[in-house]
């Protein structure tokens, strides 16, 4: 039992969303506790990106509401930053300009924003690539540029749409460990979309399992025991293995 009363950074209340005849989200409600990482786990096409974009204020919901720190979302805001699944980097801009772009749009002076960008470029391990263009970077490096850009604007809530889908398995594991470090040190709320069960259980304080379209939350799972353990031993933890199995069992029926 969780006895501490955790505040919600983001609350989704009875959200509906249709794309024409396609019913993407139906009556979806979900809370995202402050300072924690919540994964949205579900098969492709189940509406994870749609939900994240509604929270970001990039898409309007048909009905229902989204609250960020208790205030209803009406559009994008400085309290949220987005990491895009397809990176969304400007091909004509160098790494440093891409990373600093969020601050550039907020009118931060060049020297100041580049100092901040430099810090996050180092944090994601891209030092030395400041002046490279996106086409000169690998998929994983581009993803890190997108992550550094989101971190640079110092938003309380980070919305990450399958941020590790474009990287190979080794890099992915490295990223997952780094993410655990970020959650501990940055005091931010992370909304993390993935379709990997292992990844969700490995990085999350809370895993929300979404059912295929129209998407609702079928189950919320909160790993407890191993969250404070050493990152290397998590994958061997009995609770970790049990949870992976349990989630697979409940998702299996939807995978043909």
């Amino acid at each position: 039992m969780d006895t501490t009363i955790t505040e919600n950074a983001v609350a989704v209340r009875n959200v509906y969303k249709n794309y024409g005849d396609v019913e993407a989200l139906r009556d979806l409600s979900l809370d995202f506790p402050k300072g924690q990482l919540t994964s949205l786990l579900g098969p492709s096409g189940c509406g994870k990106t749609t939900l994240l974009k509604i929270i970001a204020g990039l898409l309007p919901a048909d009905s229902g509401e989204v609250l960020v720190n208790g205030k209803p979302v009406t559009g994008p805001g400085p309290d949220r930053a987005f990491v895009f699944q397809d990176f969304a980097l400007m091909p004509w801009a160098s790494t440093i300009r891409n990373v600093a772009f969020g601050l550039e749009l907020r009118g931060v002076a060049k020297s100041e924003r580049e100092a901040v960008a430099e810090k996050y470029i180092a944090a994601v391990g891209l030092t030395g690539f400041e002046n490279s263009y996106p086409h000169e970077l690998s998929g994983g490096m581009r993803q890190r540029v997108g992550l550094a850009r989101a971190l640079s604007v110092n938003a309380e809530v980070l919305l990450m749409d399958e941020p590790f889908s474009a990287v190979d398995e080794q890099t992915r594991r490295k990223f997952q460990e780094d993410l655990l470090g970020l959650v501990q040190n940055e005091n931010k709320t992370f909304l993390f979309v993935t379709h990997s069960i292992e990844e969700a259980v490995y990085v999350s304080n809370q895993v929300a399992i979404l059912l295929p379209r129209p998407s609702r939350v079928s189950e919320i799972i909160r790993p407890r025991g191993f969250r404070n353990k050493d990152v290397d031993s998590i994958r061997r933890d009995p609770e970790y293995l049990d949870l992976v199995d349990k989630i697979w069992a409940s998702l299996k029926s939807y995978v043909e």
């Binding site: 974009k53 987005f82 895009f84 400007m90 160098s94």
Partner: protein, 255 residues
């Protein structure tokens, strides 16, 4: 050594090939009205020495430069607006599509009736030739800005103005420049056409006058000179583009 100058050497070879073929065709001769390259070169030199060429170009360049400048600025502006607004697109695009396909020769008498035979009519002809491709290319490029980048701009709190200046324009610039190049080439054609069809002035005057007195070498010298000028100008434009968008162009080749 060769590798470094390869582009220049190959371009010279290409020029040599064309001039060689011209010389041979002139010597056969293909037609009594087709001079050799060397005859035309001599005529060109004579036109330069007696100052005819110079005064002719002062005359020809005026509607050309004015028309191309108007087409570039107005064309990119209208194209941008057309690409950004559906309503404006419906209003404006048909006009430029018609302009692009309309038989210009048939429109010239109309223009002369309204604007007389002066500079205005000639500028109009240059604009009619140059503007549609600039407008349509710009509009198309703006509409094709990746939606993901615009969404990114919105997510990071860009204003409409930021998104146009920092995302849409840079993303569209390679295609805008391609349209500009096509527009400028068409503008050159328009400038000569105007001089042949409205009043014979400038280079158009050299062409029609030397034809009327059967001085074919001078006629070909004038025609070739305008082509050379157009090529030089397009090269210049390409350099400007390379200078302005160093990072972008590389990217678009590989992505």
């Amino acid at each position: 050594m060769f590798a470094r100058h390869r582009a220049v050497i190959l371009k010279l070879c290409s020029a040599l090939l064309v001039f060689g073929a011209w010389e041979i065709a002139g010597r056969i001769p293909v037609s009594f009205a087709f001079p050799t390259f060397i005859e035309s070169l001599a005529a060109f030199w004579a036109l330069i020495v007696d100052g005819t060429m110079f005064t002719a170009y002062v005359e020809t360049l005026r509607p050309l430069v004015v028309g191309v400048l108007i087409s570039a600025f107005l064309g990119i502006g209208i194209g941008l607006w057309t690409g950004l607004s559906r309503a404006f697109d419906w209003l404006v695009s048909p006009i430029f599509v018609v302009m692009q396909t309309a038989p210009l020769a048939a429109l010239i008498p109309l223009l002369v009736m309204v604007y007389g035979i002066g500079l205005t009519s000639k500028v109009f002809v240059v604009c009619i030739m140059a503007m549609p491709v600039i407008v349509l290319n710009t509009a198309g490029a703006v509409r094709n800005t990746p939606a993901a980048l615009i969404e990114m701009g919105n997510a990071f709190l860009g204003t409409r103005r930021d998104i146009i200046l920092k995302i849409i324009l840079p993303s569209a610039s390679p295609i805008i420049f391609a349209g500009l190049r096509l527009g400028v080439s068409a503008g050159f054609i328009g400038a000569i056409l105007a001089e042949l069809k409205i009043t014979p002035t400038g280079v158009g005057d050299i062409i029609s006058y030397s034809r009327s007195i059967a001085d074919y070498p001078s006629m070909y010298a004038a025609i070739a000179s305008i082509i050379v000028l157009a090529v030089l100008f397009l090269n210049l434009l390409e350099r400007l583009e390379g200078f302005l968008f160093m990072g972008t162009r590389k990217t678009l080749v590989s992505d």
